[in-house]
């Protein structure tokens, strides 16, 4: 029997209209939460939105989310074989699923 991480993930465009969705992810020792999210996109639901670019180096700083209510980088938070609740940053404007508006105001399209 292989171990499983159960990821309970916030889906939706804003705090009011969203819902929690649960995915079981095969667990391997040493994986990151981002590994789990990428597994879900490839094997379960490619529509899941998450921001990342460097994948593993913790250099791009894009994959910030809330894990059980605490802010983490998905690429350095370890996947563990239990239920883990993943939501968007609650202090940032929600964009979609786990994606929030994290760019400084001077780097956004609408604002100058």
């Amino acid at each position: 029997m292989t171990a499983t991480a159960t990821l309970k993930i916030w889906r939706g465009f804003d705090a009011k209209s969203g819902h929690w969705q649960t995915y079981d992810v095969p667990f391997e020792n040493g994986q990151s939460v981002l590994d789990g999210l990428r597994w879900i996109r490839i094997n379960r639901d490619p529509s899941l939105a998450i921001r990342f670019s460097c994948i593993n180096a913790n250099a791009c700083k894009e994959c910030m989310i809330e894990l059980d209510g605490k802010t983490v980088y998905a690429c350095t938070a370890r996947l563990v074989p239990r239920e883990m609740q993943l939501g968007p940053l609650s202090n940032k404007k929600p964009v979609r699923d786990l994606v929030t508006e994290i760019a400084p105001p001077t780097e956004r399209l609408a604002e100058r």
């Binding site: 460097c54 791009c60 994290i102 399209l109």
Partner: protein, 566 residues
């Protein structure tokens, strides 16, 4: 949804905010231009620069006497006969100025006895590589340039903008059409001059050491805009990318600095050093070049002497804990958090896609063959020939970025008003608008399939059967992708990945076709069916689009005749 798209106007548009793009933006703004710096990720944090761990090659002469001529000679030698000499010369000759300018901006190059420290790296004839401790070169370079960009008047920054196509007017390139990721809306960027600084194509490979935003999109943009690409078969694999045990929060190329400082031993599964069997005895030092290192490791694996996960062992067990801690400070604790104690265990390493020597054809002013279109950094092809000398990538980004910024500013300065884009943007806008409803395309799985196929078949060890297999998979993916993106709104990953795949599939096909046509072994291209380096292949293959078809030129006359006969 018939609504006029958002518009922005500028003198110089810079696409990509790694070191090349930021340096270009700074230089163009200092020349008096309004600059628009766009990136698909956060400004100054994506791309390859931020991932650089250590070396930046530059003939400062701070450690030992040195001149750009010596750096140039090593660069040409590493390039295995294929370097564009004007570009290689620019990199080596202007490198010292850019490195000193970065020093003045406070990047913090490591010091030794009061001077900038320069480390020995494989392929160099003397200690030439500057760095920022510990494993901090890329982040420090990015941070420094971000800060200068912010302080330089005239630069507007917009992140979350994924450029879909360049706009081609009657007299040249007049800007770009982008997709804003956050809203899913199209944006027209009108510009007098445009610089492509989007980096390379390492995302095409399953194991890679750069950001997921480097899928060769700049090559595809330039190609569709009428520019040519060169040397597309030459993908550099970094020999000792981390393989096992699983390590999080660290870049997989992190072992390079350890090897610079402490040597380290590459071992097969018998515990034997093996590089001497491939012509390079290391003897506790780090001397093997990237092409030969990748070849040696994969050949050991093929012969059944690989490590459990399919690579080689890298061991620092002969180093004391004190020596390791002196060389790497807090990094030792980060390794311990991952369960790795270098004094007691080796790690496993294997080749990992790291850099692309090929790219957009430019002259020494970074001008492409298309008016108004410039390129900079890794997006440019030719400076590094068939194999890049270690440490040349950041130097290339800085020197080429600076030159591109100046050239684009001079070009833009000759125009009075921003170009009228008008109907020239309509093809790209139509592509964005024409969303096919509810296509259930698993774009994430398609990316993974492409990456696995490229890794296995268009990696460091190639042959005709593998390359033809890859081309078959690429054809199938192109068919699945079709001509229309799935419809979608804010941060729709399947929609973005469709636009990414549109570029990735085009560029992957070009890499595989160029590799297939080159019936020899040279630098990063190792063909087991053509194991020799052939004098008639000491030439560059160039590719462009003709009536929507990919056309190669530059192959030796004899080979072209054979290709036609087949």
């Amino acid at each position: 949804m018939v609504r006029a798209p958002m518009q922005a106007e500028t003198d110089v548009l810079v696409i990509g905010s790694g070191a090349a793009g930021m340096y270009a933006a700074i230089e163009a703004a200092r020349a008096g231009c309004q600059v628009l710096l766009v990136d698909r990720s956060l400004i100054g944090r994506g791309g390859a620069t931020v991932m650089a761990q250590m070396t930046v090659a530059v003939a400062l002469g701070a450690e030992t006497p040195d001149s750009w001529n010596d750096h140039y000679r090593d660069t040409l030698k590493s390039g295995r006969g294929l370097c564009d000499e004007a570009l290689a010369r620019l990199l080596c000759e202007e490198g010292p100025e850019c490195i000193r300018q970065m020093d003045g901006w406070g990047v913090g190059w490591a010091r030794k006895n009061g001077h900038i420290a320069q480390a020995m790296a494989p392929g160099h004839d003397r200690p030439r590589c500057v760095y920022v401790d510990f494993l901090n070169t890329g982040p420090a370079v990015s941070k420094t340039l971000r800060s200068v960009v912010s302080k330089t008047p005239g630069i507007r920054k917009i992140g979350d903008l994924c450029v879909v196509d360049l706009i081609r007017g009657g007299d040249g390139i007049t800007g770009a059409v982008a997709l804003h990721l956050g809203s899913g809306a199209p944006v027209v960027l009108a510009a007098k001059a445009t610089i492509v600084a989007t980096g390379g194509l390492t995302r095409l490979y399953g194991r890679n050491s750069a950001s997921a935003n480097m899928g060769g999109d700049g090559y595809a943009l330039a190609l569709r805009a009428g520019a040519s690409l060169i040397d597309m078969e030459f993908v550099q694999f970094f020999p000792i990318g981390h393989l096992a045990p699983r390590l999080i929060g660290m870049d997989p190329i992190m072992w390079d600095p350890f090897r610079y400082k402490l040597g380290g031993r590459l071992l097969n599964n018998r515990g034997e050093e093996f590089t001497q069997s491939y012509g390079v005895a290391e003897d506790g030092k780090y001397v093997i070049t990237r092409d030969l290192g990748s070849y040696a490791i994969l050949k050991e694996v093929e012969a059944g002497r690989g490590s459990p996960h399919g690579g080689a062992y890298l061991s620092f067990e002969h180093c004391s804990e004190a020596a390791l801690r002196e060389a790497f400070g807090p990094v030792i604790d980060r390794l311990a958090a991952n369960g790795i104690d270098l004094t007691r265990m080796p790690v496993e390493v294997a080749p990992i896609a790291h850099y692309h020597m090929g790219g957009i054809v430019v002259d020494a002013h970074m001008q492409t063959g298309v008016a108004g279109l410039f390129a900079a950094g890794e997006a440019v092809g030719g400076a590094n020939g068939a194999n890049r000398l270690s440490g040349n990538a950041i130097t290339e980004a800085l020197t080429f970025g600076r030159r591109a910024g100046r050239s684009a500013a001079a070009y833009a300065g000759k125009m009075s008003a921003p170009p009228a884009v008008g109907r020239d943007a309509s093809a790209a806008l139509d592509l964005i608008a024409a969303g096919a409803p509810a296509r259930d395309l698993n774009t994430a799985a398609m990316v993974q399939t492409l990456q696995a196929t490229m890794q296995e078949n268009v990696g460091p060890l190639r042959n005709e059967a593998k390359l033809r297999h890859a081309l078959g998979v690429i054809d199938r993916l192109a068919g699945e992708l079709g001509d229309t993106a799935p419809a979608g709104g804010a941060f729709d990953m399947q929609r973005f990945e469709w636009f990414d795949l549109r570029n990735m599939v085009l560029v992957a096909r070009i890499v595989a076709e160029a590799a297939l046509a080159r019936t020899e072994t040279r630098g990063a291209q190792q063909r087991d069916d053509y194991p020799r380096t052939l004098p008639e292949w000491a030439i560059n293959q160039v590719v462009r689009l003709q009536n929507g078809r990919v056309v190669f030129s530059g192959a030796p006359a004899r080979t072209q005749a054979q290709a036609v006969a087949r």
